[in-house]
């Protein structure tokens, strides 16, 4: 059993993973003819692109983002807030409420103070390649 990891040459992002039970030279030739840069790993695992990427033609764990969340429950309105610290420079911040993406911005500093105007369960994420995306939920009470 062989795992083929096809990835973007520049970023190392895994675009396609196939666990092939009986790989043949014909299959490998087919990948090459399609122009797919790939890494072969003898494993029974199917690695997640959320946690792995390719660096120097080897699969590696994406680094964890060192974000610290001050609180996970806050009051609604601008008088209360949660503070995220340890943000890498240029991270993309997204906030969702009931599946709606209501905030999406690039953060230049290492801290973010965030408040929500209405009670809800708010999902937030911080994205910056090649870090693993940091996700958490903030409960906003009335």
């Amino acid at each position: 059993m062989t795992l083929f990891l096809i990835h973007d040459k520049e970023s190392g992002r895994i675009q396609h993973a196939s666990k092939v039970y009986a790989p043949t030279d014909e299959y490998v030739n087919m990948l090459n003819e399609h122009g797919h840069t790939h890494v072969k790993v003898r494993t029974s695992r199917l690695v997640s692109p959320d946690e792995w990427y390719i660096r120097n033609m080897r699969p590696r764990i994406r680094p964890r983002m060192p974000v610290v969340v001050s609180r996970t429950t806050i009051g609604a309105g601008e008088s209360d807030s949660v503070v995220f610290t340890g943000l890498p420079h240029g991270v993309q911040f997204k906030a969702f409420m009931g599946g709606f993406n209501f905030q999406d911005e690039r953060i230049e500093g290492t801290e973010l103070e965030f408040s929500v105007p209405v009670p809800c369960i708010c999902q937030v994420s911080f994205e910056l390649w090649p870090y693993q995306t940091f996700r958490t939920e903030i409960e906003v009470i009335g």
Partner: protein
């Protein structure tokens, strides 16, 4: 009296095994546990492939991404599912559904050499902005029929 196992030397019915109470010689296909003329399907590969979402909620053709699959001879039998990744990445597989801003649609088509993963999910972004396309993952299982 019925024989549940038939082994013959001629090419017509080399080896057949039937269900309980069914004569293997005359059994219909659905009553057979094994038929030497019907080559069994085996899993050829499992995996995922990334596909970009649509930028706008319109009727533009979905993006496709081609990957190489089973070499010939092999018939394209497959199963696919869109994997959820937003907004907080539980990674659950999704059937096609629409729920408010969430539009989960994904699938695939295949010919003997290529599998095309497809999504018609639109980009989930802040209203009024033009967010970049999101990456969606289509999980797949490809089967191979080894009958030459």
């Amino acid at each position: 009296m019925s024989d549940r196992v038939v082994i013959k030397s001629d090419g017509a019915q080399p080896f057949r095994v039937s269900s309980v109470g069914v004569d293997a010689e005359t059994a219909e296909f659905q009553d057979l546990l094994f038929d030497g003329n019907q080559s069994p399907l085996r899993i050829h590969q499992v995996g995922y492939v990334s596909v970009l979402s649509l930028r706008k909620p319109n009727l533009a053709p979905a993006f496709v991404s081609s990957i190489a699959i089973n070499p010939l001879p092999g018939y394209p039998l497959f199963s696919v599912m869109l994997r959820e990744d937003e907004p907080y990445g539980v990674g659950a597989c999704r059937c096609v559904y629409r729920n408010g801003p969430g539009e989960y649609g994904g699938g695939g088509v295949a010919n003997p050499n290529t599998f095309y993963a497809i999504t018609w999910r639109r980009t989930n972004g802040v209203p009024g902005t033009d967010p970049p396309p999101q990456t969606n993952y289509i999980n797949f299982v490809l089967f191979k029929n080894y009958l030459p």
